[in-house]
Each structure stands twice: as C-alpha cells, then as structure tokens.
Symmetry: C2
Subunit: 523 residues, 2 copies
C-alpha cells in the first residue's frame, strides 16, 4: 500500500497550507457537540428497491382480502370498536370482525399519504411519507448495556441519557418514545417522566404513550401545554406505536390508545409485531399477506375513529430460529418482507415504517454490526418513512446499548449521504478534473479536489482508517471502545435546548400533579 503512505503525506501537507482552522471547525461540527451539525430528515434522491412485480403484489393483496373476509380480525374486549365496525358494514361475530372485500381500502382513502409531525423547534419538524425517511432511536428495552459494559435494568437516568444522545446525534431526526424502560419509576407514572424528558431535554419530535388510554390522554394533554391547545388541535405533534397482537388480534390497550390519538388527530403507526414462524407463516409471501390484512384492519379502524387521522403502515419483521424458537435478525427473509411490505404500503398510499438497526447479539460486536447493517440497508432501500430502532438496539431489543447507539448513529449518517444519490451537476461530472490530472497522475492536489475537499465523501466518527501501526500505537481499540469514548464525550458536552420557562413550569406542574393523584404501581 505504498499509495497510502504517499497520499497521507500529501494530504497532510495540503492541510498544513493554512487550513487548520477549517479542519478544527469541521471536527467540532462532526463531534456533534451541539445541534449545529444537525441533519434534516432524509428527502431521498435514490429509487426504491422493489422485489415483487405487480402480479405478485396483486396476488398478495387478493390473499389478504380473503383472510380479512374469511378468517377475520379480532378486536378484543372493545365493545365500542366492534360497534363501530358493525356500523361501518363489517360482519361482526363475537369479537371477530369479517370484512367485506374492499371495505378497509375504501375507509383508508381518507388517510393522508404524507403528513408533518411538528417538533417544538420548527427546524426539527419532519415529513412522514413520500420520499422522506426519519430515523428514531430504539424503543422498549427493559435493560441497558451501560458505559462500563454492564448489563442491568434501565433507569430514568439512562432514559435521560438516550434522549440526550438522540438530541445530539446529527443523523437522528426524532427523539423516539420508550428509548428504554425506566424500571426505577412506577409503571403507572413512567410515561409522565418519559414525556417530560422528550419535551424538555430535546427539541426533536417524539412519540406518545400507548400503554393505557389514560396515558395517551396525558400525552395529548402535555403536548397541549408544550405546543398550545389550538396548535395541537390542528396539527400532528405525536406519533404513536399501535402494535397488532399478531396473528390477527388487536387488544383493548392498543385500541384504547389508538382511539385517543386518532380522535386528537395524532398519528398512529399500526404495526403487526411479527416473528415469522411463530406469529405468521414461515414464508415471506404468507407473512406479507398476514401483515397486509392486519394493517388494513387496524389502519382502517383509525379512519373509522376520525377520517383523515394520520396513520402509518407499520411492520416489524423478524424470523425465529427453527432450532430454538429464538428471534433472529439481519437474515434474508425479514429483508424480503420489508421490501415487499413497503411496496404494499405505497400501493395503499400510506406512509411506511419498518426496520432499524436490529440484531440478536448480546454485545456490540461483529454479529451486532452485520445484522444491524443488513437490516438498515434493506430499511433504507425499501423506502421506510419512519425508522424506529435506528440506533441503540441490542440483544433482540432487550437492551439499549450506549456504544451501539453511537455506532448506529454513525451508520445513519452514511445512509443519509447514500440517499442523496449521485450529483450529476457539472461539478459532479468532474470532466475538467479528469482533463487536468491525466494518465498516471493523482487527484489530491487538483483544483476540483480542493474545491470539493470539505464535502467530498462521508466522514465516519467511528471508523479507524489509519495504518495498523498507528492503530496499534493508539491502543488497539475496537469500534465499540471508540464509541464508548464518543458517547461519554457527547453526554459530558450536552446542553439542553432552550425552552420557554412558563411552558417548562407547566409541564413540570402537570407531571407533579398527576403523580400525586395516584399510588405507585410497579406491575
């Protein structure tokens, strides 16, 4: 690699020619030490990757219609929901709803294909649908793998830390929801502390509570304190995870939360949570059929509640190990499901959620990275509009990992650069550079390279591209060790975004009042 040594020297000397200030500024911007380097959400300039042709899609759609009509979907323990379906023309037998062909699709005509989720900082508002992609952190882990490498139950301090990291990470566009379960806070009060953290420690958009209808009501109430009553009535300021209890069941909790949010014109992500082989058939086409049937029923229900309420076609696709029954990630079948589901969502005219940086590994090692990269690549190329679990997911979602959060965020920056596509401007074509340099020379010092020095090529915060000798001299660190240092540095450098003191006081008062009104519950 004699070229490399040469390049390093030449490049070093070039930088030496009076560019030190610029390099320092760039390093500061890249360190994410403040939100100055924040990226807006992705507006894709690359095509979708589509694995199914029209005939295959029509077949799966017809099969989903058959499932909806013949097998039906259960809306459990919710008399109101069942009455609404009966009223809408469905065939309701007990808790089982059978759908006349075409009914869910007809209801979904009122759902917007694209909507804006507003953030309290308008620069952080995101468009969900169309060619946009939004990255949000991991959701739901009861454990963390902390910065000392210890796996333990998550606390509210961890929750705050992950909100801070998501706020600081330039490539994460959304503060997410249950970034980890703050197990040290009573179950019935957690949502208040979580919402307070998202609303005050970050200015990015966030997710609401779905674990009980009254907690969804609290979410809307707090959003009204943050954004003002009128704004919330007219705009979408929360997005909320309404999971199907696959196969083919929506339970009372989820339906209750969906009703609260849809009535308030807040967004629902209707997501069949599927480990294929357990909650769906062992085949990709069979899984897609069931996913589509469940989404059609659940998403159409939001339109029964309030026509026009924003709703997202969600999938969480994984497979089980046929040996052990354990969930697996980053394998080929869930990628195929993601690609296919994205196509079905586009045909339905709904925004789409899938994927993330999913893995089964217990540590941020090569397994974690292979699996996460496989998932993220298919997520991005499929055209997911909302990407939950984009950073920090470890161990099948049981742990939120600080190191992996930072490593994943680095990958998200690359994904965003990729999605910008190929620059075909005259500068992008670089014909003059080729003319200037000519055979056998190099491009390092040429005018075109100098003009594009700052923006050319994605720069990773995590990757070590140095020589073996330099890497060795610097302590032979793994990517996870470098990520550990960055996570510590980010947390030390964190400063909360400004907030109107009256609003902050209102939020704190609401939380204090609510907490005082209930006894602690830990189950």
């Amino acid at each position: 690699m004699t070229e490399n040594a040469t390049l390093a020297e030449e490049n070093g000397s070039r930088r030496g020619r009076g560019d030190r200030g610029g390099a320092a500024a760039r390093r500061a911007a890249r360190s994410g030490a403040g939100p100055s380097g924040q990226l807006t959400y992705i507006r894709r300039n690359v095509p979708f990757y589509e694995v199914l042709d029209d005939e295959a899609l029509a077949l799966i759609e017809a099969n989903a219609d058959t499932v909806l009509e013949e097998v039906g979907i259960e809306f459990r323990d919710d008399a109101e929901a069942l009455a609404m379906w009966k009223e809408a023309g469905a065939d309701v037998r007990g808790e089982r709803v059978h759908f006349p062909k075409g009914l869910p699709r007809a209801l979904l005509k009122t759902a917007p294909p694209v909507f804006t989720q507003h953030a309290r900082n308008p620069e952080r508002s995101v468009q969900i649908g169309g060619g946009s992609t939004i990255f949000a952190p991991v959701y739901g882990p009861p454990f963390v793998r902390d910065l000392d490498g210890k796996r333990r139950y998550a606390t509210i301090e961890d929750f705050h830390n992950f909100v801070k990291l998501a706020y600081l990470a330039p490539s994460i566009h959304h503060s997410g929801g249950t970034v980890c379960e703050p197990v040290d806070v009573p179950v019935n009060k957690r949502h208040l502390d979580m919402l307070l953290a998202h609303m005050t420690l970050s200015d990015k958009p966030f997710m609401g509570s779905v674990t009980a209808p009254e907690r969804a009501e609290d979410t809307v109430a707090m959003a009204k304190i943050l954004f003002g009553n009128e704004f919330v009535e007219n705009n979408t300021v929360t997005i909320n995870l309404i999971n199907a209890n696959s196969p083919m069941v929506f339970d009372d909790t989820m339906l209750g939360a969906a009703k609260v949010y849809a009535r308030a014109n807040q967004a629902c992500i209707v997501t069949p949570f599927i480990l294929a082989g357990a909650m769906s058939p062992v085949t990709v086409a069979g899984t897609l059929t069931q996913v589509l049937a469940e989404v059609l029923a659940g998403a159409a229900f939001t339109q029964l509640v309030r026509p026009g309420a924003p709703v997202v076609f969600g999938t969480f696709a994984s497979s089980i190990s046929m040996q052990s029954g354990a969930p697996t990630f980053g394998t080929p079948e869930p990628s195929l499901v993601s690609y296919g589901a994205a196509q079905l969502a586009r045909r339905l005219g709904l925004p789409f959620r899938t994927g993330g940086s999913l893995c089964a590994s217990k540590i941020p090692d090569a397994q974690a990275a292979y699996e996460s990269a496989n998932t993220l690549n298919s997520t991005l190329l499929a055209g997911a509009n909302f990407v939950l679990h984009a950073a920090g997911w470890l161990e099948g979602g049981l742990s939120a990992c600080y190191e992996k959060f930072v490593m994943d965020a680095d990958q998200l920056g690359m994904a965003q650069k990729f999605a910008a596509g190929v620059d075909l401007s005259e500068n992008g074509q670089a014909l003059d550079a080729i003319r200037e340099v000519g055979p056998g020379q190099h491009y390092l010092g040429c005018a075109h390279t100098q003009a594009n020095f700052q923006t050319a090529f994605h720069r990773s915060d995590i990757a070590d591209n140095n020589s073996f000798e330099q890497w060795e001299a610097e302590g032979q660190k793994s990517a996870a060790q470098r990520a550990n240092e960055i996570a510590r540095h980010w947390l030390e450098s964190y400063e909360a975004p400004p907030i109107d003191p009256g609003i902050a006081e209102g939020l704190h008062d609401f939380v204090a009042r609510k907490k005082a009104s209930m006894p602690d519950a830990f189950t």
Copy 2:
C-alpha cells in the same frame, strides 16, 4: 419475551418426536465438514438496484467517450499493444492512445455477455454474467491475522488454509487467486505453489497468475495438465485480474498477462483499482466516467488480442479519507459507484465484477462488520457477477483474517438466500396456514410450518440467538470467538477432493521442474 420461552419448548419437543437423525444430518451439512452442503453459484431471482436513470447513464457514457478521445489512455512500455491500437484505427501518440468515438464499443461487440468458467469438478463450474453471482475469497494480502489473533506475514501454510476454507465453505463458489501472499516462498516461484494448491486442494474454479507474462504462461500450462490440452483450448478454465493503474494507465505487466490469457481464450477481469479522491475525482459521477473509460480501453484491448475472448467489466471502488488520505470502506460513495458501474456494464453487455466484504478495520469487530455488510449489500443488489474479496478481507486488504473469513462466508450464505427472492407458489402463499391457525394462535405446530421446517429461514453458523443468560453461561463469546472455533474445526475436518493421481503427479512434476529452472528471487 415470554413467547420465546414457549417457542423454544415447543420447537424442542417437536424435534424430539423422532427427528433427531434429520437434525444431526442438517447440523453436519451446515458445519461444512464436507462439500456435501455446497451451494451452486447464485442464479438471481431478485431485481437489480439501479441508482441512475437512462439520461444519467448516457451522460456518463458520453463523458467517458470524451475522455477516451481527448485525454486518452496510456498503454505503457508495450510496443505490441500500441501497434495493435494503431492498426485498429486509434490515434497513438507516444504511449498515449486516443480513441475515435465508438471504437472501443465496436470492438467489444465480440465479447461474450455470459461465459462459463469450468472447474475440474463439473458441479463447481460457474456461469459468469447475466443473473449469476459468484463469490470468491480475498485476494492479495501480504499479512494474515491468524487463529491466535496475531498479525504476521502470510506463509504458504496460510495460503493452503484459506484454499481449504474456501473449498469447505458452502457459500463460496470459487477458490480465488492470491488468497494471501505466501511471503516465505520466493517471489518468482510463488505462483507455482499457489496454482498447485488451488488445483489439488480444491475442486472449485480458480484464478491465474498476473504478475508476469511468463507466470500467466505457467498458469495456462498447468491448466492444460489439469484439464487436458484440448479442453483448455476450447474452454475458459481460469479468470484473471487485469488491473488498470488508475488513472488511465495500463502497465506492461498487466498488458503482458492480458495478452497471454486472451490469446488462450481465458477470462480477464479488467479492473480500474480506484481510491476515489486519489486515483479518480472525488465525485461519484466523475469516478464512474473514468472507470468506464478505463474499462472500455482495457476490455476492448482483449478483443483486439482475440475477438470473443471472455472479459469482465471490473471495478474496485473505494474512497480516501480526506483527512488522512487513508482508504475507507463501506461508505456511501463506493456503493453508489458500484451500483452505477453495474448499470454501465449491463448497457455494455459485459459481465461485471465489484465489491466484496471490504473494510478498513484492523480486527474482526463491529467496524469490520458494518463496512463489510454495507459493501456486500450493494455488491449483491448491484448485480455483481464475480465478487472477489467476498470473504476474509481485513485492514484495507492488507490482512487475510481467518475469523473474518468464516464470518463473511456466513453472510454470503444469507446473500444467496436473499437472491432466491420470494416464493410465490401455493406453499409460499401459505393461505391455508393462516386459515388453520387463526387469530391469537401461533404457527409453530401447524401443518404448514412442519412441512417447511427444514428449509424455512436461513440458519447462521455464527449468530448467537440464545438468551442473554445462556450466552453468558456459554462463555460470553463474541462472533469472532465463535468464528475462530469454526475455522479451527473446518481445518481439522478438511479432506482433499479426489484427483486423478497421474494429473496430480504431472502438476507436481511441472512445479518441481519449473522451480529447479530458476534461482530464488525475493523481490
């Protein structure tokens, strides 16, 4: 994760019902302990991912034509090559060849879009071009990272080991070439030992020597011993890496080897070896322009030598770090280059080589895996027909790593499963399974799952999908540690494929005679 516990139990009990023999057979097949589980090369059933539209492609083609005409390509120190170009109608000034618009394309009309590279075991022969993909091991590293975690110069024993691993890995279709540099063998004799290893320790197809024309002649001579004179004269039995010395130079060594191979109807992969920013412009479109110009010139040259000789459109696309000049891998820009170059190759009607499992990391950690997975995903979706460096590449190609070889091979198996696409048969649609199971139940015991138990879902050899507690009890191993055990196991279990003793003797005699005819040279 209460579902998982249940699933594991049920799955365990199902297997208990008299399927132990089958499970053991599958484990044996998956361990790669013999070539019984070998996969044939990929015949893709998924579309290509294309980042450029027709207008963009035409623009890049026009720019490449301009570069070929105005700037030209140097064919250095090869009077014969320059005379051939003059004879063909090019404008030759010194060593610089300027190409009238359309000349290279016209010459390439004789190049086959698809060809077969024969292996001595006909079941291992591969089709190169069209919808096929062939995975071959890393090529060129002077170092290894060995099974004791030590980085040291590679030896002929390492070379043998990597040939054995590639032979055993079911997802690697090709034995490759310089899987590592056997630094303990004199430079002028290495090719003999390397060829002997590929020909006797494996029965998969292999690559020839390109480091000097006489070594290319030795390759063809040894191939004739292995396959018979007549077979080699009528068939392609070697594939050979002819790199451009980018920008826009082909040197004497490469041209000499290309002439030997093309004359013998053996395949050349004409590959601009590019670290963008150093050997090409810092932009994707500029790099694609130069790549296309270089390939057009080099590949057309093979057709001047022998019309109809098989030739592959190669790219090796990476970028440099603009801070240090060091090569980077797994970043967005090289992926875009791979996607674009694949489209240009298809428009030209040539088979295509790019990518692999590339990374800059010094160890098989998360960086290595993120970067390798990013590269492999784009390689596969781009539609690369020949994938060099598909397994074992570490540290920018300076090291061949045993652990990473096994981890990458596991990923290649997943890529192959992905490329099979979505099964839309009645069994794939699984409508009866959905009918049978119904809302709120699970699919583990259903007839459809049982019928598809053996083939459903890719099974990773490396991934640990067990619970945290089980993983902890089993020693908290990283993916690299598990890969280390598998690599050791594979090497212990290796048995050479049968070979005609007369042929083996002929090969050994040839090598002995050739070695005796030259003094050792170490530079």
